[in-house]
Symmetry: C4
Amino acid sequence: MSGSWHGGAAAVVTLGFDVDAETPILARGGRYAAHASTMSHQAYGPDVGLPRILDLLDEMEVPATFFVPGWVAEHRPGLAASIVERGHEVAHHSYAHRPPTSMTPAEERADFVRALEVFAGQGIEIVGYRAALWEASWLTAELVAEHGLRYDSSLMGDDRPYRVGTAAGEIMELPVHWSLDDWEQYAFLPEPHVGSVIESPRKVLELWRAELDGMRRYRCLFNLCVHPFLSGRPGRALALREFIEYARGCGDVAFARCRDVAEAAFADPEVGVRPHRPPQVDPAVHPH
Amino acid sequence: MSGSWHGGAAAVVTLGFDVDAETPILARGGRYAAHASTMSHQAYGPDVGLPRILDLLDEMEVPATFFVPGWVAEHRPGLAASIVERGHEVAHHSYAHRPPTSMTPAEERADFVRALEVFAGQGIEIVGYRAALWEASWLTAELVAEHGLRYDSSLMGDDRPYRVGTAAGEIMELPVHWSLDDWEQYAFLPEPHVGSVIESPRKVLELWRAELDGMRRYRCLFNLCVHPFLSGRPGRALALREFIEYARGCGDVAFARCRDVAEAAFADPEVGVRPHRPPQVDPAVHPH
Amino acid sequence: MSGSWHGGAAAVVTLGFDVDAETPILARGGRYAAHASTMSHQAYGPDVGLPRILDLLDEMEVPATFFVPGWVAEHRPGLAASIVERGHEVAHHSYAHRPPTSMTPAEERADFVRALEVFAGQGIEIVGYRAALWEASWLTAELVAEHGLRYDSSLMGDDRPYRVGTAAGEIMELPVHWSLDDWEQYAFLPEPHVGSVIESPRKVLELWRAELDGMRRYRCLFNLCVHPFLSGRPGRALALREFIEYARGCGDVAFARCRDVAEAAFADPEVGVRPHRPPQVDPAVHPH
Amino acid sequence: MSGSWHGGAAAVVTLGFDVDAETPILARGGRYAAHASTMSHQAYGPDVGLPRILDLLDEMEVPATFFVPGWVAEHRPGLAASIVERGHEVAHHSYAHRPPTSMTPAEERADFVRALEVFAGQGIEIVGYRAALWEASWLTAELVAEHGLRYDSSLMGDDRPYRVGTAAGEIMELPVHWSLDDWEQYAFLPEPHVGSVIESPRKVLELWRAELDGMRRYRCLFNLCVHPFLSGRPGRALALREFIEYARGCGDVAFARCRDVAEAAFADPEVGVRPHRPPQVDPAVHPH
């Protein structure tokens, strides 16, 4: 069991924080930079939510992974380093937070490389990637492999780590899922229209606990994705704290950074490969 | 009572699994085949959710019905047979998962026949049909009768089985309802836009229990529709398990495959006919 | 207190059932008549939900008011009479279920009169009106007064009955509210798009109880609006039953038909008038 | 501690009531003035909800702040004065309730000044401002400073008061957040489309309590925003009452008007400045 990706735990929790700041809104339209309230709503993430979360992680003594767009690292120069200093991982979350499926291959590649350059310039070692909006293209995994990164965390083909083969070599996939994202539960903005109803932290905690219990039963990777501008709010931060306490109280749950899970999975021969190719589409059957 | 469709049970539960895989998304646009994350989200259904559900049904010793689009059976050749081998029913769920109301009559007929050919080629006996998105046209029931199938499960005109007369003969309707579908509770995708909020399995369980209790009171058919890519997730699978345990604990609920309910209903003279014809519309009253 | 509209009760409950059948969907587009599943979803209301609700009201011994579009009364000739025979009120709910705000004044008038003619032809006495979608125009109340009806139930200017003056005389308003409508809680259809999430009857019961408790505190009219195609479903019918039991258990709640509340309010000099005229709009301030 | 903005309390609650009446709907289109039901739904706010809330505040002996659009104060001449007479604050909430981000700078300035003139004409002293829809532009704070007001309450850059520097001087920001607004929880209208699901007051209370508990932990400003046309409804008014009782029962929560918090924050040297400038956008990275 100790040679397995989960190290004998019933479930492994990776706490992932997408430090998006203004980028998901600017990716919807650069014109939103003129919306002062909306920009302040996003700036709350790195300015208020992030320090609160870092303190919470210190207090709980759990490691985490922070997915940071290159644009954010560039505009807030000390941010990425301050995360690494606290013992956490910083991972690649695109440069501009534009979904790969909305870009040409050349644009996706340029965006990918530009963020790598930002992190290199700041001395931040990067081994993992997450596509904006989890909207990877079929090129994405190849870019990850080609640039020597070890894992991607954008696909949903399983609830355990799996290998993905690309023309540039094999990478590890740490799959995500919408039900373990705080965006659908908490996000609300009138323009651009984001979200429909703001859920109570109590409901979100209930949802996450139910999924963790299921994952303990099926020995899965609980790959949580939360955003400092959302889950950094006071009541939600307490709910996150309560979730961590619940997971620890289970006694059979391990916490790890994504990079550590990826390496453990590479070392585990039982971690399988999932096919990674587009379905064949007949336009007469499924029009464009 | 033993000659009645319900065999004396207060309510009959048919567990229906729509094994849609990529088809509901490709039916929204073949272009989505380029979205790697979205495709992986759908592939999770047959690849991870389905085996988990089959094991769960084995463990609970309850029979079920799997509605499979012909396209899915064709692209995953062993899938339909593996379901039948476990003692469950495979039923016809269109070829391409395009709603009949979005097709011409000729297109609907061609789609209907193409899936039948796929199943025939795999030696899978088919006696029931369910329209994609439960969006049957007025032709649908006739196609079902004309091709010798015994039942349809796409209409909502009652909460008990009822007979539907067509130009090609009578079929049995096993009615469905949106409140017994996991799609509205769990589905979320940013593009194509699917769903608005992801509910907790606890809420879904509460909803299903309330409906089952109501149906036990009124002696109805609890025709559940869940999707492996949604309810095959760990926490939701446990909720489904808990629902099955709850239903069994009631002591007055029977489980059956759809085909068995259809045959029992044909043999029950008290099962009535519901009219099956479009309302007369005056364009001056209800513009097109 | 006995001379007051509430007869001394802390709150008065009027159970209103909008027997819309196919009309709200056809009002969105006559083309939806070609959607067999959607039509069956709507036909469930008069065919299955309505008889179940009538039995429930008998069992609970509470009177109710049924708002019926003229089109529905015409297409199902015995329906209105069967409601009156059980001791309930039938009220005018437009002919075609098209919102007045979507029609010209001439169209609204023609629709209004046409339904009155249907009811007159069936010997159904009508004293109250409710606009489709609660989307009254400023003409609506005048039409109600002009045709000798006593009350309208489409406005939201208060939570107690109030008088509305029109050029054709005064009518009583029995105000409604979206939070006491089952549509927002339960309705879901993919096309036309109706509703976003299907709530549990438990949540709806919680919502209604909270509002009833508030209304008992402030002595209001609890003017519930439910639809047989929605609340006639088994689990929801039980929730409705539980709500009625709760209200009766309060000991200070009265049940009445809308017409009886309207007459009691006319006889109560303390029931006030609320202004009924459009706000003055300056297009330079609020563009069209 | 007594010299700090919070006066030693674990959290400070400012109860804010946006007395919008018809304006948010007319801002969506002046044509909606023709919708009688919708107008009555909005008029309920000042006519029924507001007096109920004023009585509730009297009973609970807590001060509050009422954000009133100039248009509303003008069309209901005694309204603003009646609020001040009860010991509460009236603040500037635009003239027409059109979001600054939807206006030109000249339009925003004209709207800002016009409301000030209305309040001046009624002898209402104004020291604070809130942008319609919390959609401030980068000009907004400058307008607030330029006209001698002391605070704005439209931004979301923190959960404690913070200083904002402008070309016209410094103002205090009392930040808001969508999760402390009753609009997303309760609002529903079919046209214009507003809201998607109507939540139970019980859920809203749970949400607010969770946030208050979080804010007590992190010593924040609980800046609640409710609307008389929404939270003035009976069941919701009781929930608001229960929230106030809960907050008082905590023993470490203070209630204050916004103006008093702003002055205390100005006097507290530890209240910091947050940058107030638009992010630099490269159109090649984030297209318009």
